[in-house]
Symmetry: C2
Subunit: 116 residues, 2 copies
């Protein structure tokens, strides 16, 4: 099944992380095949860091690891969903989720005005 | 704010779609800047179809549109989270979510065996 996954041209697949209890979406990371293997075998989330170009055991530095409860793949096998429990704030800003900034219609209008 | 978003080298940004009531993760799609503008201004989800290379009003064919409740961006502005309500099954398979196939440790082991 892991071989059937569709990694992109950089060998990566996006992985959504969702809190297994609250169902809050916490972050989106990218896994290469090795990160996915380690995630499945260790029960903790591993990513491939696109900025550092290396395997990244989430929480290795911050201490906020993510314990895997379930992993799912989507219908066309090019996205992973991790349902898990973080041991601390997932975001490097200290927020529990990386999605803490809302986008509104005004953002489009402001952007349009900026172009004139 | 929309101009501050980081679209990738193909001009796309991944957008997670989550059910606003149940918090179930339904799918991951990709938006270009125009799809995001239309999503924000129309209140329904638009994507950019990578396979067809064209703007895609989600549900235009299937009838399963997604009504936007809230849009969020993540800490580094390279992922969008849509919280919304689908008007029908989101997945082309007829499932309400695209994430209906679970990955397990056995998938890694099976994959390793396949390599020997």
């Amino acid at each position: 099944m892991i071989n059937n996954l569709k990694f992109n041209e950089k060998g990566l697949i996006p992985a959504i992380v969702q809190d297994a209890d609250t169902s809050e979406v916490l972050m989106l990371g990218y896994m290469d095949e090795e990160a996915l293997r380690r995630t499945l075998s260790s029960g903790e989330v591993w990513f491939f860091s696109r900025s550092r170009q290396e395997l990244w055991h989430k929480g290795e530095t911050s201490g906020s690891r993510i314990i895997v409860h379930e992993l799912w793949k989507d219908c066309d096998s090019d996205t992973i969903l991790v349902r898990g429990k973080p041991t601390g704030p997932v975001c490097h800003t200290g927020n529990k989720t990386c999605f803490f900034q809302q986008l509104t219609k005004q953002d489009v209008e402001a952007s349009h005005q900026g172009e004139t």
